[in-house]
């Protein structure tokens, strides 16, 4: 294409641009065709996999974990949408979304008791009790994945680590460092006293009381003034040992 001055030069340049655009569109079209083809192949491969191993995924929690880890490595999210191939062909979408709903319900039911913070193990055991009819085993990893999906909905669903335990938070209350440390101390016996906190962390009394009162307000702590030595104890249902919680369950169900 010789560059020519004047109007004809402009016209030919415009014509050239059009040509390139058409070619570009065609190339794009080819690429979308290619994509369609690739997608079809992928889908059939996934179908094959599902046919052979759908049961394994349902029944075997370790296999499920492996599956999720590999998906994460590749960069796909099998739980992203119920419309995706993964959910459609492997059927794991419903499993996790249902799990999410059940977790929310359990957290809501126990909120009056523990203020919106629940021990992960307690949550799992309550979940298993609820799901006695369903024959699919639920592992801690499954719970964690379901909760991580719930996170996007706001309302503060999160898993936080306090000391050695994992707690599931279902309220948007922010816990600062002081609160976390108090919860850690509480893990030993389920309760703390002001003196204990002051001794272990060497805080001024005002600071300890401040933090404890906030936790009290938020509903995470309960006061026990009935002890013989007269010291006020702050009980934390969320970090109390599971046996105590199950005992309460037993009482509730029997009454």
């Amino acid at each position: 294409m010789r560059r020519r001055p004047g109007i004809s030069g402009l016209q030919s340049a415009a014509a050239a641009r059009d040509q390139y655009r058409l070619v570009g569109e065609n190339v794009a079209k080819i690429r979308t065709d290619l994509m369609k083809e690739q997608l079809a192949t992928f889908r059939s491969q996934l179908e094959e996999f599902a046919r052979k191993h759908k049961n394994d995924i349902r029944k075997n929690p370790t296999f499920r974990t492996q599956f999720h880890e590999m998906c994460a490595k590749v960069g796909v999210d099998p739980l992203a949408s119920n419309k995706g191939f993964w959910a459609e062909l492997l059927g794991i979408g419903d499993f996790y979304y249902e799990l999410g709903v059940q977790i929310v319900e359990i957290c809501l039911a126990t909120r009056s008791h523990n203020g919106g913070l629940i021990n992960l193990q307690e949550l799992c055991s309550l979940l298993c009790q609820r799901r006695k009819t369903a024959r699919e085993a639920v592992s801690e990893d499954d719970c964690l994945r379901a909760i991580s999906k719930l996170k996007v909905l706001g309302s503060g669903f999160e898993v936080i680590t306090v000391g050695k335990k994992k707690l599931v938070r279902s309220v948007p209350t922010e816990l600062n460092k002081d609160h976390n440390e108090i919860l850690e101390v509480a893990q030993a016996q389920g309760y703390v006293t002001v003196e204990e906190i002051e001794k272990t962390h060497s805080w001024p009394s005002g600071r300890a009381i401040d933090a404890l009162e906030t936790l009290l307000e938020e509903g995470l702590a309960m006061i026990d003034d009935g002890h013989r030595d007269g010291k006020r104890r702050y009980w934390f249902p969320c970090v109390a040992p599971i046996s105590a919680a199950l005992g309460a369950e037993g009482l509730r169900s029997s009454s």
Binding site: M35, F42, K83, Y96, Y97, S155
Partner: protein, 436 residues
Amino acid sequence: MAANWLPPVLLTASGRPVFLPGEIERCLLSAVDLEAEENPALPTLRSGLLVLTSHRILWIDESSSSGCAIPLAAVVHVFHPKKSLRNMFASPRVRIQVSTSPDGRVGEKGTRSEMVTIVMRGKTDPDVFYGRLLEVLRSRTWEASEESEGRERGSGSGEGSARVRMPVVGVSGILRKEQEMWESTDKSLQEAFHDLNALMSKAKEMVQLAENMRQKLLLGSNAQASANDDELGSKQEIQDWLLSVGIVSLVTKESAGALYHQQLSRQLADFVKLPLEKAGGMIALIDVYCLFNRARGTELISPEDLLQACALWEKFDVPVMLRKFDSGVMVIQNKAHSDDEVFARITSLAQKPDALLMGISPSDAALTLGIAPALAKEHMLTAESKGLRLLDSWVLGFLLRLPLDRHNILSINFSSDDESFLITRRQQLVKVMLLT
């Protein structure tokens, strides 16, 4: 004559060996000698029929209708029939090492061992025999039948006088069965992992391709201001494909998201009308998630689906909207339900005489407004940012107060270095409240 260094074999009337329960014949060789190499005192057995079974090696002397056996459990090692220049013209030999008791009798769990040579003088291929022998040794069929015998015996003598050894055999049989089951599950899982790997490598390719398409989408939307139908169509397709593979693409200003989300968005808007009314105009997103999925029963939606659907409401003309508070809580509320109206109601509540004295807590506000306590708290926090003064109190949760006059505020000493500052503050607060 059968030597008594090998246990004897029972023969039937027609000369066939009597097999043990579960014993299967594997190989027949004729004209075979059995030689004990190391101990010359043990006689050589010449020219007999060798029968390899799953449990024993039988040597039968047809002329005298007698036979003896080497239990395979006693076989310690088998040597390969090597073909070398030396034995090229000699008869092929397979040597096995068997365990013997101190007095020379061949049996399993012997303390000593003996080398026995199987000399094959007939026209046979030693390799075939060797292969079969190895197979049989590997499968160890005699152990399984021992277990079953032991289990039968064990279960039988359960009630009676306890012979301590019996239950152990039975239990170990059960344990072995468990082990085998695990191994077979393991194998199928191995296969599953293998398939999973193959699938994932394919998925990786898809992800690459999808990323390219997504880049193209972004560039396309930036470059061209005018969208012609073709472009829109393919963009839609691309969104759908990305969704299928499992890559969530964000709803951008130009794109309308996947078709699935568009439909879901409309469906959700219809669904949410009734619960909104019941809840007083505002519901937390997480509650909608539970309600919607429960109503659906199957084919549930993921949290991200919900989010995408709500985000699309901006494009459609629906009477509901998604709202995000500073604390991160997300709610769905009626467009008609405005903030100012809520603040007016809170203020009127705060102006009542007991409220002035005691303040109002989120639960009071919740009762009045008819919404959940968590949401009431959110409203009050927003009210604070809008200028309604909030002072918090230890005992009453949030205390909502109207703007105080200057001279009242000055009467409070804010000495933050003071350790007991916080406690003093409470007392002072009560004083302030009583003043106004």
